[in-house]
Amino acid sequence: MRQPQVLPVLLPAAERLAKAAMRERASGARALRLEPAHGVALFAAFVLGCGVAQAQSRSYDPSILATIWKWTPLLARGFAFNLAISFVAMAIGSIAGFFLGFAQISLLPAVKRGAWLTTHFFRNAPWLVLLFYCMFLLPFQVTVFGVTIPIPDWTKATLGLALPVMANVSEIVRGAIQSIPTTQWEAAASLAFNRRQTQWMIIFPQCIKRMLPPWMNLYAILTMSTVLASIVGVNEMMTLTQRALSAENRPGLLLAFYSYVLLWFFVYCYPIARWTVRLEARYAVRQ
């Protein structure tokens, strides 16, 4: 670092890294690159886990697949809860992030600065930390006009996950807006559109295509992050898996059950990730 001369051998790697970093910055989040190989590896882990568990079973234990099958309805309900959390967190985060993104390009310095700080604070804070903050800082109930409304844990967890989504969407929106050539703003101005009209009618519609791939990528990441809610005790799939494991009380089941959970997430997220890559490639060619 202190040496002024550049090592030419390192350049290609450095360039590659810089490019990857740029891409990730532009997309607003770490790119999720799910390959078929990941699925194969997961499945292999599952089969191995089942084999190990079967080998450790006592003669009177039911077969490992039968055990998993028995718990599947409950786990599926937990998975549905994960999806529900992901939908709501994504919706809240997207709406808030949308406005925050526009605030980031506001002409008012105070708004711009505030939006920038908010975005970068929530974008760089670890998701788990935000989750804990929401769990412990939000009250378990609020009283409005004498009516007491309880705030269940899953609501707080959803809000906790919506915060980083908001920050990432904000960056996606800002990045997309700034990727539109300034000549579009100029053309709109010369046709006497005001700034708000220009943003809504001319710039933003052109951003949607560019925003879609990183937004979907973010959704896949969020879905996988919903299992964090298990740490704060929400009844989602991971929590229920732990419960199933302690009910069964067979240590050999661990690998089989957890890889089974991972397979569920993989099957759900893989198509989204593939579709994201396809859209990215298509829009890259078009533009």
Partner: protein, 250 residues
């Protein structure tokens, strides 16, 4: 009234403009009569685009004055005032700058509907008439990406005309086109000039400038070096710098 037709509609007086430290325009003055056609020629970087942007109120000036029709452009402060000006002065860009997510017809209709707040069916009829005028009636539902450069530029001209401006500014509108399509765009501009539209053109098409312009200004380094009717400026340039430039481009 001959008096009205010779009264300048654009008066640019001693305009200075800088981007930060760099002074781009160093005292530019000229006038354009109503219905007149003025061409601005000069080497790249001499401030031609900046001058047009100043006239359109897209960039502020530091000294001097610009008057267009009834607007003191240098004194416009609020967005509302600038918008009022831009209804009178419309600009066409080198890179067309059509809105890629709208069809040709929608590109033409957008500003009259949303800025002038005119009735959509009236605007539609006018937009179709304008596209017909620039020879693109058949392409009204095409997106900019499906049109050639020349076609896009003609849509851009129709889009500007839809605002019913008093003055049209053209910034090297044929510079990005291939030679065959240059002609169709120039024909469109020629038609406008013959109908009496006031035009200020920045151009590298010297033959076209000679044919169409009432007056040609040669700019260099942020100043107008020489101004004359085209025949005089092209055939008998008085300033060495003009002569050197013309010998390079002609």
């Amino acid at each position: 009234m001959p008096e009205a037709s010779t009264r300048p509609i654009v008066v640019v007086d001693d305009v200075h403009q800088s981007f930060g430290e760099v002074e781009v325009l160093k005292g530019v003055s000229f006038t354009v009569a109503k219905g007149g056609v003025v061409c601005i020629i000069g080497p790249s970087g001499s401030g031609k685009s900046t001058l047009l942007r100043c006239i359109n109120g897209l960039v502020p000036i530091q000294r001097g004055s610009i008057r267009v029709a009834s607007f003191d452009v240098h004194a416009l402060r609020t967005d509302k005032e600038k918008i009022a000006l831009r209804k009178e002065v419309s600009m066409v860009f080198q890179q067309y700058n059509l809105f890629p997510h709208k069809t040709a017809l929608q590109n033409v209709m957008m500003a009259p509907i949303h800025v002038l707040r005119e009735k959509p069916d009236e605007v539609r009829a006018r937009a179709i008439a304008l596209l017909t005028k620039v020879g693109l009636a058949a392409k009204q539902d095409a997106y900019p990406g499906e049109l050639s450069g020349g076609q896009q530029q003609r849509v851009a001209i129709a889009r500007s005309l839809a605002m019913r401006p008093e003055v049209m500014l053209f910034d090297e509108v044929t510079a990005a086109l291939d030679p065959e399509t240059v002609k169709e765009v120039l024909n469109t501009i020629r038609g406008l000039a013959q109908e009496g539209m006031t035009c200020i053109l920045v151009t590298h098409e010297m033959r076209f400038a000679r044919e169409i312009a009432d007056e040609v200004h040669f700019t260099d380094g942020g100043r107008i070096v020489e101004s004359a009717p085209p025949a005089e400026l092209f055939d008998h340039p008085k300033v060495d710098r003009t002569r050197a430039f013309l010998s390079q481009v002609l």
